[in-house]
């Protein structure tokens, strides 16, 4: 069966972003960009399913600027077979991303579609669910374990009170949580090989999707600064401050 994995180019998770002075967004010039950490976990899971003989081909898709090629190549170095870059410099919102992915999933005949649970830039946590809705298939969000058995997939999900296991018929959409796996590092020979793997370039219009939306960012501001704290020297002083100054105990 075929696996489709969606990856997003985002600011590296270690970077502390700064809001632009004109409040139009965050400053991304000269900032290190990486594959969204949850998407890396999705790629890893697809590769493991391939190694287990469940999946025969892994197609990785990214929607974004030309530079998102780097993230697709990165996914190929981990084991993905082919890439599709849907190139646009527009901000593409989750519903439009889901519409493009739907067209690709159908064209490719993907059986298992893996995405990260959320991108660490917009923190939306929507695309996988929207894609499942548009494809009219089952969804398993926040996956911490995936087992394919015949025509079904059993997914253990991280929910607020603990864990929940669901069974979905294939095709299905799965979004990854942190504890699904630990992604491998790309080895140098695999990075070289990845450069030769096929990478198709497309535009949103090729799938009949417009990036226009009814969501508008009015402004972006820094979060409220916290007042500088104090260092306390002893447990007694801490207890006293909590009781008499902060009055929280």
């Amino acid at each position: 069966m075929k696996a489709l994995v969606a990856v997003k180019r985002v600011v590296d998770y270690n970077v502390k972003v700064r809001v632009k002075a004109d409040n139009t967004g965050v400053d991304l010039t000269n900032v290190k960009m990486s594959i969204n950490p949850f998407d890396e976990i999705a790629v890893e899971e697809a590769v493991r399913l391939k190694e287990a003989g469940v999946v025969s081909e892994i197609v990785v898709v990214s929607i974004g600027p030309k530079e998102a090629q780097e993230q697709i190549r990165g996914a190929m170095a981990l084991g993905a077979d082919r890439g599709i870059l849907v190139e646009t410099t527009d901000t593409v919102y989750p519903l439009q991303v889901a519409k493009i992915l739907k067209a690709i999933a159908q064209a490719e005949g993907a059986d298992i579609i893996l995405l990260g649970k959320q991108a660490i830039d917009d923190d939306s946590n929507q695309t996988g669910q929207m894609l499942a809705a548009l494809l009219d298939v089952g969804q398993a969000t926040f996956a911490s374990q995936v087992k394919v058995d015949g025509g079904s997939v059993y997914v253990t999900r991280e929910i607020d009170g603990g864990l929940q296991t669901v069974q979905l018929s294939l095709p299905a959409v799965i979004t990854t949580d942190l504890r699904l796996n630990e992604p491998r590092y790309a080895k140098l020979p695999n990075i070289m090989k990845a450069k030769k793997k096929p990478l198709e370039e497309k535009k949103p219009e090729d799938y009949g999707v417009s990036t226009a939306t009814n969501i508008q960012i009015v402004k972006v501001t820094p979060p409220a600064e916290r007042k500088a704290g104090v260092k306390v020297k002893s447990v007694d002083e801490l207890v006293d401050k909590l009781r008499n100054e902060a009055k929280v105990i």
Partner: protein
């Protein structure tokens, strides 16, 4: 204009997250209708009817909704959506699982984790792990949003007298895409992490699960606090992952947050920096947690925590 609030519950009890969501709905303005979807959830509907500010409760009880599988419940919500300008749910794992599916079926974009309502179509939400706050205008025909419960006070659980209406559901309630297999819920007598007034969290420095039991639990019990953890502590297997506080775990904003042996990575701060008072106990005075802590005590957690517990 009417607002549909999706209730968080476990078929027995209405969860507090619903009360925070009702408050967010009241800031939008309009009749507030609460949807209780589940199985054998009539008691929950009665609790929802008593919440101040609620004008009507819809109760949809069907085996297909028992575990609130998104495939089934999204169909139900969409079938009811015609009457509402806004559909909102708490940004819990249930709400986050369900609402994007609803939004896509309605062909609208949506907003996750709203922290403030400016007007009926303008909202604030954090992006980049809370390092920026976006003010967003949503002019979709239907506004679908999930709200961060810690950003809104709970509506009074008593004082309302809403009518309850049963929603009749056809035989096709089960979309046939998914099946519930099993659930393993963590048992705890402590307050729920996201709703607790005080949270005591431990990090990698605890070194083991036994040390959580020995050092963090007694302090949490003494304070009547919930227990939390950093991702490092969860990944190391010291505590179950539903205790993780951070960008990808729970978002908390208690009156008092005690971070013991937690360095304070960006992703952890995203989950707790709206706490009223933050205490950090760490042997590294340069740890990033010191920048957000109101009170920082430099010291060894293994001596400080027992001393603190005994002096409270």
């Amino acid at each position: 204009m009417a607002i549909l609030v999706y209730a968080e519950h476990d078929n027995k009890e209405l969860k507090k997250a619903t009360l925070n969501t009702v408050t967010a709905a009241s800031k939008i303005g309009g009749d507030i209708v609460v949807l209780v979807a589940g199985f054998g959830c009539e008691g929950v509907a009665e609790q929802a009817a008593k919440v101040a500010g609620v004008s009507k409760v819809l109760c949809a009880s069907n085996p297909a909704f028992e575990h609130q599988l998104a495939e089934n419940v999204a169909k139900l919500v969409v079938s009811l959506a015609g009457d509402y300008s806004h559909i909102i749910a708490p940004a819990t794992t249930t709400g986050k699982n369900l609402l994007p599916r609803v939004a896509a079926l309605l062909d609208v974009n949506m907003l996750t984790d709203v922290i403030a309502v400016i007007d009926a179509e303008t909202f604030e939400r954090p992006i980049y792990a809370g390092n920026a706050i976006a003010t967003v205008k949503n002019t979709e025909s239907k506004k679908v949003i999930t709200v961060r419960t810690t950003a809104f006070d709970a509506a009074p659980a008593e004082g309302g007298a809403a009518s309850i209406e049963q929603v009749s559901v056809g035989e096709d309630a089960d979309a046939g895409k998914s099946k519930f297999v099993r659930e393993e819920l963590a048992k705890s007598d402590r307050p729920e992490l996201t709703a607790a007034e005080i949270v005591v969290s431990g990090g990698r420095a605890l070194g083991s699960g036994e040390n959580f039991t020995k050092y963090i639990e007694p302090l949490a019990d003494k304070l009547g606090a919930a227990m939390g953890a950093s991702r490092a502590a969860v990944d190391a297997g010291y505590v179950p992952n539903d205790l993780q506080v951070g960008q990808t775990g729970k978002i908390v904003a208690p009156n008092l947050y005690i971070a013991a042996g937690i360095s304070g990575a960006i992703q952890h701060l995203a989950g707790m920096k709206d706490s009223k008072v933050i205490v950090a106990i760490n042997n590294d005075p340069e740890a990033p947690i010191s920048q957000v802590a109101d009170y920082f005590l430099e010291g060894d957690i293994f001596t400080v925590l027992p001393e603190l517990t005994s002096k409270l």
